[in-house]
Amino acid sequence: MSSIKNPYRPYPARLDNIKVETEDGNLKTFRIVLEDKADREAWKHTAGQFAMLSLAGKGEIPIGIASSPTEEGHLLFTVNRAGVVTTALHNMNEGDRIGVRGPLGNGFPVDTELKGKNIVIIAGGFAFTTLRATLIYMLEHRQDYGKITVIYGARTPGMLLYRDELEKWQARDDVDIHVTIDREAPGWDGLVGFVPTIAGQVAPSPDNAAALICGPPIMIKFTMPPLEEIGWTDDQVYLSLENRMKCGIGICGHCSVGPVYVCHDGPVFTRSQVQKLPIEY
């Protein structure tokens, strides 16, 4: 092997805690601790980056890092059970060994372009994970950002991620949180309506602001018009793309969208960058 580090070799890690997040049981949050102290100390990620979770004998999956860099000692990954590897992961137990390869990708520019801006976080369904990392990071560095507004929606109250934390954030006066569900549900006295509708009602000002939007493509599509109506432009909007990935380092070709590799050049792009690309994501 040459002297540069083997980018395909994962760090050994243990599943430290597993929490079922949603009422359908399809989303679990895995708290992962890297086994070697040296790896833990060397680990450094930015909110919005992802990692490859590596299950020996099953394969690897790219998953957004749900923990903020400020939460030291462990990593959080909220995983939807969808394919072979995620199903195997869901069947694992606390204490089991896993591999982590990363951090990969670019992440949100929290320490550069977003600094000093009013931040609007818009999330739908289980796409809230890396935005949770971003929100926690921003709240830890509260003085670096202006007004922070969060609009988060899920189908039902039971499908909301991180409910305990949502309540804590709602109690704070330095962040404006709007949590919504698609339809009326017993016991729910919060907002009701789709994310685009709520975004239109909240109508966050585009002045010196940036919006970070993650969610199903249909949600992103319908969230843009109400924002554009009040003056938002494409270069103020940050999106996080996802595609099938294998290498995670911009070589193998699976996640390519035109000339860019989502894994290496992304996953975070401004909407104006995305508009110049083929719609292959």
Binding site: M1, P7, P12, G59, A82, G99, I251, C252, G253, P259
Partner: protein
């Protein structure tokens, strides 16, 4: 740099000397292994036919399959599920008789594989002895892609046949070391030999190719205009998405990574993959960003002719012509290149 003149017997002697430290592979020109790179056991100058062998040289840089990591999956094993690198046997190769197009592909793929330690190690492991082309086949078009039938790029030693003898020129330090193994019996290269090589190079340069430096023109074109060009549909209608072109192509470097297990042991392997297949981009959710054939056909050509040059400079095609020769529905990448070069968006013009 060192240069020697070797006749066929001297080449045999040289191969035999190199075989002490390295395995020597050359394209088989006959028999059941015809067109593949086979281990030489008889150290005489192999018969190498004009043109390229069926299999590209990339198989040495991306072995099929290549073990990236190995691991145990026995739960009681303390190292269970802990991947480690496989042991190397330390044996190095000489790949002999590599045509200039194939040799050039190694460096082009390396542009994309800078961070790939396995690719770098395989470049280290495989010394390339090139053989320039005295004859250009009907499917060859290296000089239209920035290469030359006399090209030496990617070679450690380059051989040029002149009147039944070979002028062997070392092109790298590693090539110097290998050629030193022929020093005791190799003949001195005379001025007239050098002028003969130069004359061949000059002839290669003055060819009547209509395309020169396509990458410069292609880089200037608008990506989305090319992407939306009308000719992709006609290509997609013919293409059967068999993927033969990608497996034969020396510059198609996309790969898949899979885990294999047997009797408590496992390995993570990579093998060539093809963007021609729907599974290449299929999400676990069922969503497929390149679910349509036209998207896949377009992606392969756009990657070679537009995405790659935009990112790295040159086009990702060396003009070996394997895909032209072996495409079951006669898709010709030269025509695609011409379509791209000649395309001007007429979208805004009303008839």
């Amino acid at each position: 740099m060192k240069a020697l003149k070797l006749d066929r017997n001297a080449i045999g002697q040289w191969l035999s000397n190199m075989a002490g430290e390295r395995d020597i592979y050359a394209p088989a020109s006959d028999g059941p292994a015809k067109g593949t790179w086979t281990l030489l056991t008889d150290y005489s100058m192999p018969e190498i036919k004009p043109g390229v062998p069926a299999r590209p040289v990339k198989n040495f840089l991306f072995p099929q399959p290549e073990t990236l990591l190995k691991f145990s999956i026995v739960p009681t094993d303390p190292d269970c599920c802990l991947p480690s690198e496989p042991e190397e046997n330390g044996r190095k190769n000489v790949v002999f008789g590599v045509r200039p197009c194939d040799a050039r592909s190694i460096g082009l793929n390396a542009l994309a594989c800078k961070a790939d330690t396995y690719y770098q190690a395989n470049m280290d492991k495989n010394a390339i002895i090139g053989l320039t082309c005295s004859q250009v086949c009907s499917t060859c078009f290296c000089s239209e892609t920035g290469g030359s039938p006399m090209g030496t790029e990617g070679c450690d030693v380059s051989l040029t046949e002149i009147d039944g003898r070979y002028i062997a020129r070392a092109m790298t330090e590693r090539g110097e070391e290998l050629l030193a193994l022929a020093e005791s019996f190799g003949k001195e290269v005379t001025d007239s030999d050098f002028s003969a090589v130069e004359a061949l190079e000059e002839r290669a340069r003055s060819g009547s190719d209509e395309i020169r430096n396509p990458e410069e023109q292609l880089r200037k074109k608008d990506l989305m205009e090319l992407y939306n060009a009308p000719f992709w549909q006609e290509l997609a209608d013919r293409c059967i998405n068999c993927g033969a072109c990608t497996f034969l192509c020396p510059t198609c470097y996309c790969f898949d990574i899979q885990d294999e297990t047997l009797h408590g042991k496992g390995r993570r392997i990579r093998c060539q993959d093809s963007c021609m297949f729907p599974l290449f981009t299929l999400h676990a959710s069922g969503h497929n960003p390149r679910g349509q054939k036209i998207q896949r056909v377009r992606n392969r050509f756009m990657h070679k002719m537009k995405y790659f040059p935009d990112r790295f400079g040159p086009i990702s095609c060396v003009g070996c012509g394997r895909c032209v020769r072996d495409c079951p529905v006669n898709i010709d990448i030269r025509e695609v290149m011409r379509s791209l070069l000649n395309f001007h968006d007429m979208g805004s013009v009303t008839p």
